[in-house]
Symmetry: C2
Subunit: 314 residues, 2 copies
């Protein structure tokens, strides 16, 4: 049973720990968002790839969600003392990942190659692929408090400015020219199931689908594509999906999440709290529905969610 | 009394702590070697600028010589666990300096600007200038154990390969095109004294003098230039000057060190152990000699050495 997971960061990471219990881990390929990658202090930082890698390898910080467990912040605290830009959370253990990745890229390697090297070092069995080796930047078009237009990289919007600006639109800069990373199209074509993880549709999943080759490959496999709603009871469990979804014309609901991928889905999993969305999704989008508890308290509940998603395709 | 110090790393750092006790610290300008700068993991690392900055600000590790006191190596240890290149010593506190510098350079700043920003953050009063904002690389031409020629960056020769290769020559790649950093020529022209610090002649001082504008500026001020021998009793106190000096035709002695700068010097300070070199230096090079204890046990002995050097010009 070969499975492709289309993934963002933390929500996907939690889910993937369950998925690799539900199916053999060597049969899993994860295609990860890089739209919120950033270059900071000369380092190439891939927050979603890191989250997925840390969760899959078991070194993720479960409390904080991002970064590595038992991390310290000596470098960042010292950088702050030096008056340097310290708005982006960089743990000491986490920095080693960024140094390794940046070194590989500077030596002429690709993001795919760096991702594979890091996954290998962390003893991760599933294949982790960036959506693309080409740069794509999720840009959040905002209006600041003073009424001026602000064109912000996702990390500027969310981390540096802490999401305080009114969002008017989102675009994926570079997506037109970006090619799927090596292995992505092949993995989707060969998959028995493609799972769109319970990640932020606008910040995590739509950047991946903005690459036309990837979107087409999913459309070609629609009968094998299942999504999982990241919206529970009309709100995201964490993050800012409730602010980004309306800006791109999506309702903040399980229905809204389903409609973000509507023409690609065969099935969609919604939470028990969102039963009322089920019939709308079925009728308006022509998508099969599974209703279950989607809250992932632990690996066991994530495994049950993965099983429900896979069974919804049968 | 305006003083310019021409400086390498640790030896210069120790000396400068004494110099700023001997003369008002705001009257001191330090021109620092960048020939052993390297780019590693995408970070711009300037070992000699950092040593000078750490020593002057009082955060240097006095035992180890390089790096910051009370530093830890969490990032480097994690990078090693990940299988990344971990041959170059990067402390966690030290990394913050590299991140700040690299960020400034990536944002279009110069090495001068980054150096000033770091010095300001460390509350350093003397002016610290890189020799150049343009890249110059000290290349060590070696013969490996298998007899093959090896063209090694200084850090590859000394840190990565731990100085195990036979040295046949040294060159300063990029020096022909490199311009003195802003302020260097002005500082030398205005100086009442120019002190060549007790640093490795080949690895630290000659890279600076390989920039023709800087060499000319010192030649123009020869009557105000004094050097201090880094060779004591026929051997360097630390480092590999004894291996590099013969490769460029210099005797490993106080005389050899003086002859490295011979045509630029008005005076030279040698250690009590090297009295026998004094008359040769005076007669063959036409340079005044001061003989004193040059070992810097503490800031007080460094201050006395600085005073002897300055008085040798009177």
């Amino acid at each position: 049973m070969r499975v492709v997971a289309v993934a963002g960061g933390v929500g996907a990471g939690k889910f993937l720990r369950g998925l690799v219990r539900a199916v053999p881990r060597e049969d899993v390929t994860v295609v990860v968002n890089t739209g919120d990658d950033l270059t900071l202090h000369g380092l190439h930082i891939s927050p979603d790839i890191d989250s997925v890698s840390y969760w899959l390898s078991g070194v993720a910080d479960r409390e904080r969600g991002w970064g590595r467990a038992e991390d310290t912040f000596r470098v960042l605290e010292t950088l702050r003392e030096l008056g340097g830009p310290a708005w982006f959370g960089l743990g000491d253990l986490d920095l080693a990942t960024h140094l390794l990745r940046t070194g590989i890229l500077r030596d002429g390697g690709t993001l795919s190659g760096a991702t594979a090297a890091i996954a290998g070092a962390l003893r991760i069995v599933p294949t982790i692929l960036p959506m693309s080796d080409d740069p794509v930047a999720t840009m959040v078009e905002c209006v600041g408090e003073d009424g001026r237009a602000l064109d912000l990289h996702f990390q500027q919007y969310w981390v540096a400015r802490q999401g305080r600006d009114a969002v008017k639109g989102v675009r994926y800069a570079g997506a037109d020219a970006a090619r799927p990373a090596p292995g992505v199209l092949e993995a989707v074509a060969a998959a028995d199931a493609v799972i769109i993880c319970p990640s932020n549709p606008v910040a995590s999943i739509l950047p991946i689908l903005s690459i036309s080759g990837i979107r087409r490959s999913l459309a070609d496999r629609r009968s094998r594509v299942v999504g999982i709603s990241p919206i529970v009871g009309g709100a995201p469990l964490r993050g800012m999906a409730d602010r980004l979804m309306p800006a791109v014309g999506l309702e903040v609901s399980a229905f809204g999440a389903a409609s973000a991928y509507g023409d690609l889905l065969s099935a969609f999993v919604v939470d028990l709290k969102d039963r009322t969305d089920a019939s709308r999704i079925r009728e308006e989008l022509g998508v099969d529905i599974a209703v279950t508890d989607t809250i992932m308290h632990d690996d066991g509940s994530a495994e049950r969610l993965a099983t429900v998603a896979l069974e919804s395709l049968r």
